[in-house]
Amino acid sequence: MLGFIARRILYAIPTFFAVSIVAFIIIQLPPGDYLTTLVASMASQGETVDPAALEALRNRYGLGEPIWVQYFKWMSNIFLRGDFGQSFEWNQPVASLIWNRLFLSFMLSLSTLLFVWAVALPVGIYSAVRQYSLGDYAFTFLGFIGLAIPNFLLALLLMYIGFRFFGQSVGGLFSPEYQEAPWSWAKFVDMLSHLWIPIVIIGTAGTASLIRIMRANLLDELRKPYVVTARAKGLPEHQVILRYPVRVALNPFVSTIGWVLPALISGEAITAIVLSLPTTGPLLLRALMSQDMYLAGSFILMLSTLTIIGTLLSDVLLALLDPRIRLE
């Protein structure tokens, strides 16, 4: 078990570096470097930059040096000092901008994952056990529709319905009075009351595909001989189904986190932009639009890292569930 976890962590390390390289490339893609952009933007505001400060910055990020040195400096600044670079648009360190939003993104994605599971599991079981029933067809059809509606369209639709028929805006994560308030129980409750709309929007597609996966897995398992064995023991039918085939089908279900999580984080980003949630999405888009590359790159790095960690945790969870992995 420990060996398995250690191996998975070892696996995750090269993935992390690959992600960091991609993020770094994205930072480097726009023409010019951070300092030229900075000088240009300050000049446009009629300010000049102190040449000494400029030189200090140049050193800190290794600008002008070979690309791999720049990468190395960027990485070590992050690891050693928690310094993700400077956002020229906000004129603040990136680190002071991203953590709060990353936390909210993480919370939102996690809640959505729980929502997706809570819906997909029972519906998938129902669809498999009552294969070809009216309910099964209905869920299959709903699932196809769920897969076909892009997140942002669903968000627009809900916003339109909210605006048109209930006269209220459905955007945001907090009511105005809590927007700037420090965290408190009341603020948390307020957030929960806003949370369900983005959760439903982000979770629809994932729920639809997980229902289909659970259904297919369970249909496979229902045909296996151990189900007959359980029945032959004298177990009531619902226990036969829940204790055996469902339990076995749970393993591939859990392992879907590996791709559901990246999809949720993707969906979170775009939904947040439409609903203007105070999460990473809107700020990332804005950073990309204004080519505030350290900010954008840091978001991409951290979102991907979150995904890697999530996948790692799902693998550990899978090992806990499946003795064949745990004891190999």
Binding site: P225, V228, A232, K233, G234, L235, Y244, P323, R324
Partner: protein, 350 residues
């Protein structure tokens, strides 16, 4: 050795279990008659696909959907204390009801063909056995565990305390089947149905498992219904034999009757296909002339007439033979004996 002199346990009459599929109805079991007696071993033989497993599953009402018992009765003579016998028609019970569930695993239990796939891959064998025990016996968790370990020891699993926490994939094929048998025996059933319990294990283990079953049968005084297509096994373990062909029992009698004076042409053909009784490995049943008919297109008349060497033209392909009880007490479904009964008394060929 007249079977009817023994205490009757299960009496199947006219059992039909069909699978209504889109392409047509598969008549997997189509009029099976047989009986199982206390303390005896019944072997069911027949080619693959002739309905042995479905007959066995019908007894416990665990036929896969869309299969269904459409006709016939399965009378179960249940001993209910004080020497009283209660008769239950298992075929009439609701497959999901409490009545049949109370019998499954407790009074009638099953050992399946493939121990690897018949045990759950994600539960320890200990857990799978204690589940059956706790379901049917008023035992605490700890007592159930002790009992399960006792059963594992009883079926010859070394270090049962350790094996209790093993998963099926950690055990060898033979050990797995032993665990399966331990599970089947854990509630001291009056009938154990073993559906080809040795096809998935090697020859040595096969012999051990059969010996184990024979020993346990003697010790526990239960009845065993052993499904096999190995006539060598039948000769060694059976008290009674049911020979099946295309969803019917074509001949049913004691092992002596079947081996020394087979009456049905199919039984004879089967026995002829074994070169010598001792060379069991070659005693497979697939060397009879012709092909098993398609389950959707069952032949008219006697189902065996397409392959029968003694068929009476114009008769066997028209009249479905009824069950005929001969003087020595055996049953046979063959029109050759329909005349015998009317005209001359049957002579024992032995």
């Amino acid at each position: 050795m007249n079977p009817s002199s023994q205490e009757l346990l299960i009496d199947i009459r006219g059992l039909k279990t069909h699978f209504p599929l889109d392409e047509g109805v598969v008549k997997a079991v189509d009029g099976v008659d047989l009986s199982i007696h206390r303390n005896r071993t019944l072997c069911v033989v027949g080619e693959s696909g002739c309905g042995k497993s479905i007959t066995a599953r019908s007894i416990l009402q665990i036929v896969d959907k869309p299969g269904r018992i459409v006709e016939g009765s399965i009378l179960y003579y249940r001993q209910s204390g004080m020497g009283n016998v209660e008769v239950i028609d298992l075929a009439a019970l609701d497959p999901y009801g409490a009545a049949i569930r109370d019998i499954r695993g407790k009074e009638i239990s099953m050992v399946f063909q493939e121990p690897m796939t018949s045990l759950s891959p994600v539960h320890t064998i200990g857990r799978q056995i204690t589940e059956a025990i706790r379901l049917h016996m008023p035992l605490s968790k700890r007592e159930a565990k002790a009992h399960a370990i006792e059963m594992l020891r009883h079926v010859g699993i070394p270090q049962p305390e350790l094996r209790f926490d093993d998963y099926p994939f950690q055990l060898s094929g033979g050990m797995r089947q032993r665990a399966m048998i331990a599970m089947a025996l854990s509630c001291n059933p009056s009938l154990v149905i073993a559906d080809e319990p040795t096809t998935a294990v090697d020859v040595t283990t096969q012999a051990q498992i059969l010996e184990l079953l024979a020993r346990l049968q003697a010790e526990h005084g239960m009845a065993v219904m052993l499904i096999t297509h190995d006539l060598g096994v039948v000769a060694e373990t059976a008290d009674d034999v049911a020979v099946m062909y295309l969803g019917q029992v074509v001949e049913f009698g004691t092992v002596e009757q079947i081996f020394f004076s087979p009456k049905h042409p199919y039984t004879r053909a089967l026995l002829k296909s074994i070169p010598t009784m001792s060379r069991r490995a070659q005693g497979r049943l697939d060397s009879i002339r012709g092909m098993v008919p398609d389950p959707f297109n069952r032949p008219q008349g006697c189902p065996f007439h397409t392959r029968c060497e003694e068929k009476i033209a114009g008769v066997c392909d028209r009249i479905a033979p009824p069950r005929i009880t001969l003087e020595d007490g055996r049953d046979v479904r063959c029109l050759l004996y329909a005349q015998d009964i009317e005209m001359t008394p049957v002579q024992d060929a032995a």
